[in-house]
C-alpha cells in the first residue's frame, strides 16, 4: 500500500490563483510600487499629501480597470503588430476622460495633480497590466486584476502620502483636494519633530519611498528565508521518509530472505 506523503509547499503556492488571491496579490505580494517599482513618477511627484496620493490612486484605478476591460474584450481582434498603439489609444482615451471628469468635479485635485493627470498615459503599470494580463485573460479576471493592482497602487501612494504629510506638517488633512463634504484633520499634532519641510519636496519623496522599499524588501527577505527554511525542512522530511522506506524495504527483503 502506498504511503501517504505531505504535499510540496512550493507546488501548492504555484497553484492557480483564485479570484480573491487575484485581487489581493497587487496589494502586498505584487505591489506595483514597492515590489515591481512601476509608476514611480507619480509616486514621487504627487504624494506630498495623503489626499493628492489617494486622488491619483483613484484616477489610476479607474484608468487601469477600464483599460483592462476594453483590452480584454477586444484582445482577439487586435493583431500583434498594432497591439501597442491600440492599447496606447485606449489608455489615452480613459486618461483624457478621467482628466475632464476631475476638472469638472474635483477641480482642486485637478489643479493639484496638474501635468501628472495626462502623464498617467505613460504609467508603466497600466500598459504593463494591459499587455501582461488583460490581453491574455477574460474580462472578469481582468477587472479584478485592474482593481487589485489599482488598490495596491493607491495604498502605496497613500502610505507614502501619509508619511510625507505627517513628517512635513505634523497633520493629516482631508477635504482639501478631494471633493469631500467635510474637511478637517485625521491627525493634528503641533510637535516640533514633525515640521520637516524636506518631506514636501522631491527629496522627501525619495527618502520616504526608500524607507518603505527597505521595509518591503526586509519583509520579502524574511518571507524568502522562511520559505527556504520550510523548503529545507521539507527536503529533510523527504530524505527521512526515503531513508525510512529504504530501511523498511531492506527489512522486508531481510524478512523474506529469512
Amino acid at each position: 500500500m502506498a504511503e501517504k506523503t505531505k504535499k510540496n509547499p512550493m507546488k501548492k503556492k504555484k497553484q492557480q490563483l483564485g479570484q480573491l488571491a487575484n485581487f489581493t496579490k497587487g496589494i502586498i505580494r505584487e505591489n506595483p510600487i514597492f515590489v515591481f517599482l512601476l509608476g514611480m513618477c507619480p509616486a514621487l511627484a504627487v504624494t506630498a499629501t495623503l489626499e493628492t496620493g489617494v486622488g491619483m490612486g483613484i484616477l489610476v484605478i479607474f484608468v487601469l480597470t477600464a483599460s483592462n476591460i476594453v483590452v480584454s474584450l477586444i484582445k482577439n481582434f487586435i493583431p500583434d503588430e498594432i497591439r501597442i498603439p491600440s492599447y496606447i489609444v485606449i489608455i489615452a482615451t480613459f486618461v483624457t476622460i478621467v482628466g475632464m471628469l476631475t476638472q469638472a468635479y474635483a477641480y482642486a485635485l485637478y489643479q493639484s495633480l496638474g501635468i501628472f493627470i495626462p502623464l498617467i498615459v505613460v504609467n508603466c503599470l497600466i500598459m504593463g497590466r494591459a499587455t501582461a494580463y488583460a490581453s491574455k485573460n477574460d474580462v472578469k479576471s481582468s477587472i479584478i486584476d485592474g482593481l487589485g493592482m489599482g488598490v495596491g497602487f493607491l495604498a502605496a501612494l497613500a502610505l507614502i502620502g501619509i508619511t510625507r504629510e505627517l513628517f512635513a506638517t505634523g497633520a493629516i488633512a482631508y477635504g482639501v483636494y478631494l471633493p469631500l463634504p467635510f474637511e478637517g484633520s485625521i491627525i493634528n499634532t503641533s510637535m516640533y519633530l514633525f515640521n520637516m519641510n524636506v518631506f514636501v519636496g522631491p527629496a522627501g519623496g525619495f527618502i520616504v519611498i526608500g524607507i518603505w522599499l527597505a521595509i518591503f524588501n526586509a519583509r520579502g527577505n524574511y518571507l524568502k528565508k522562511k520559505k527556504e527554511v520550510e523548503r529545507q525542512a521539507w527536503i529533510e522530511e523527504k530524505k527521512k521518509e526515503a531513508a525510512e522506506r529504504k530501511r523498511k524495504k531492506a527489512m522486508e527483503k531481510a524478512g523474506e530472505a529469512a
Binding site: P79, S86, V89, M100, Y105, Q111
Partner: protein, 398 residues
C-alpha cells in the same frame, strides 16, 4: 495587403470610438469645467484686487493670440481699482493662463498663474520667488529676472505681461512706424545688438507681409528712440517722445551713407548705424540677419562673417559665423546668449568638429549625447551655422 488594410481599419475604429467617447465626456463636463474655471478666475481677481466688486465686472473679450480678456475692476463704491488682463502663453508643458493686474497708473498690482500644465514644483518656484518681484513695477518698464530655474514658465509670464503692456501703455513702436509708413501692419525683430545704446533692428511689414522699411531702436537718456529707414537705407525719421531729433530733419530722404552725424547722442548712434549699414549686407534668410566682408591682419579679403540670430533656451542667441572664400567654416563666436553656460558650452565645443567643413551633418551636430538637456541651445546654433552656409552659397550664386 489585406492584412494591412485590416489593421488600418481596426486602428480607425479604435480611434473613432476613442474620439466619440472623448467628445461625449467633453459635452457632459464642459459646463462644469467652464464654471470651475470662472470661479477660479474670480478667486484670482480677489487675490489681485481684494476690494473688487464681483457683481459689477466689466469684461471685454480681446481677440488676440496672447491676451484673451480684459476686466475693469471696480470696488463697491464704483471707484476704478484697475484692470486685469487674462492671457495665455506657451509654458514648458503646455499653455499657461496668466492674469496680470494693473492699477490705473499702469503699475503692476499682482501677477497670478491661474492654470498651468508645467511641472508643479517648477511653477511653484516662479509663484513663490519671482512673481512677487513684478508687483509695483511699471508695466511697460518691467525689470525681469534673468535666471529663474524655470525659464519656460517665467517666459510665459513675461510674454503675457509684455502683451498686456501694449494695452495699457499703447504700442509706441507701432505708432512710430505708422507715422512714417501709412501701410505698416506689423513688425518683427530682425536683429539684437550687443550694444548699450543700440538695442534692436526691426523689420516693418505691410499687409502683404512685404518688408517696407527698417527701424533701429536705441536708448538715449533711458528714452526709447526709433530711427526709421526705408528698404534702400534712406533716412525717414527719428521718433521719440522727449529726445529732440529736429537737427536731423534736413537729412530726411538722404541715404545713411551720405549723412554726416553730429557729435551728439543721436549722432553717435547714427554714426554707428552708418558704419553698420555701409559695411554689411542684409540677408533675407531666417536665422541670418546680415553679413560683413572678413579681412585678415594684412587686409586681405579672406571670407565673410554671417551674423546669425535664433531662439535659444534663455532668449535670443546671436552668433557670428566666419566662412572663408572656399565656403569652409573658419570660426564661430557667441556675441550674445542668455543660455546657461553649463549647457551651451559643451554644445559649442561639439561644433568645433565642423571647422574646415562647408556643411553640417545634422546627426553629428545634434547627437543625443551632446544635446541632451540642451536641445534648444544646440538647435539654435545648428540653425544659425546651417543658415550661414546657405547664405554663403546664395551670395556665391549671385
Amino acid at each position: 495587403m489585406l492584412a494591412k488594410l485590416r489593421m488600418a481599419l481596426i486602428l480607425f475604429i479604435i480611434g473613432s470610438l476613442s474620439g466619440l467617447s472623448i467628445v461625449g465626456v467633453h459635452r457632459l463636463t464642459e459646463d462644469a469645467i467652464a464654471h470651475n474655471e470662472l470661479m477660479q478666475q474670480y478667486d484670482d481677481y480677489v487675490v489681485i484686487f481684494p476690494d473688487i466688486d464681483l457683481s459689477d465686472l466689466q469684461e471685454e473679450d480681446i481677440d488676440e493670440d496672447i491676451i484673451q480678456r480684459r476686466i475693469d475692476a471696480y470696488d463697491q463704491n464704483g471707484d476704478l481699482l484697475g484692470y486685469i488682463f487674462v492671457g495665455r502663453a506657451q509654458g514648458h508643458s503646455g499653455m499657461n493662463t496668466i492674469l496680470v493686474g494693473v492699477d490705473p497708473s499702469a503699475d503692476i498690482v499682482k501677477v497670478v498663474i491661474s492654470a498651468t500644465d508645467d511641472t508643479p514644483n517648477y511653477a511653484q518656484i516662479i509663484i513663490d520667488d519671482y512673481l512677487p518681484n513684478l508687483s509695483n513695477q511699471r508695466i511697460d518698464e518691467v525689470d525681469y529676472d534673468t535666471s529663474t530655474g524655470a525659464t519656460n514658465t517665467y517666459n510665459s509670464v513675461r510674454t503675457v505681461i509684455d502683451a498686456a503692456s501694449l494695452h495699457v501703455a499703447g504700442d509706441p513702436a507701432m505708432e512710430a512706424y505708422l507715422s512714417v509708413f501709412d501701410d505698416a501692419e506689423r513688425y518683427a525683430t530682425n536683429f539684437v545688438f550687443d550694444d548699450e545704446a543700440l538695442e534692436e533692428e526691426i523689420n516693418i511689414f505691410n499687409a502683404a507681409d512685404e518688408i517696407i522699411g527698417y527701424a533701429y531702436i536705441a536708448f538715449i537718456d533711458d528714452e526709447s528712440v526709433y530711427i526709421i529707414f526705408d528698404t534702400d537705407d534712406v533716412y525717414q525719421a527719428t521718433v521719440s517722445q522727449d529726445v529732440d531729433t529736429s537737427v536731423y530733419d534736413d537729412d530726411i530722404g538722404t541715404k545713411i551713407a551720405d549723412i554726416e552725424p553730429e557729435d551728439d547722442d543721436l549722432g553717435l548712434i547714427l554714426a554707428e548705424l552708418k558704419d553698420l549699414l555701409t559695411n554689411s549686407t542684409r540677408v533675407s534668410l531666417e536665422y541670418i540677419a546680415r553679413y560683413f566682408e572678413l579681412y585678415d591682419d594684412e587686409d586681405s579679403h579672406i571670407g565673410y562673417t554671417y551674423v546669425g540670430i535664433a531662439d535659444g533656451f534663455g532668449g535670443l542667441n546671436v552668433i557670428d559665423i566666419h566662412i572663408n572664400l572656399d565656403g569652409e567654416l573658419i570660426e564661430y563666436e557667441v556675441v550674445r546668449s542668455n543660455d546657461t553656460p553649463d549647457y551651451i558650452n559643451p554644445v559649442l565645443e561639439n561644433f568645433e568638429q565642423f571647422i574646415g567643413d562647408s556643411s553640417l551633418s545634422e546627426d553629428d551636430a545634434l547627437a543625443d549625447d551632446v544635446t541632451v538637456g540642451a536641445t534648444r541651445s544646440a538647435t539654435s546654433i545648428y540653425n544659425i551655422i546651417n543658415a550661414a552656409f546657405e547664405a554663403h552659397a546664395e551670395r556665391e550664386g549671385e
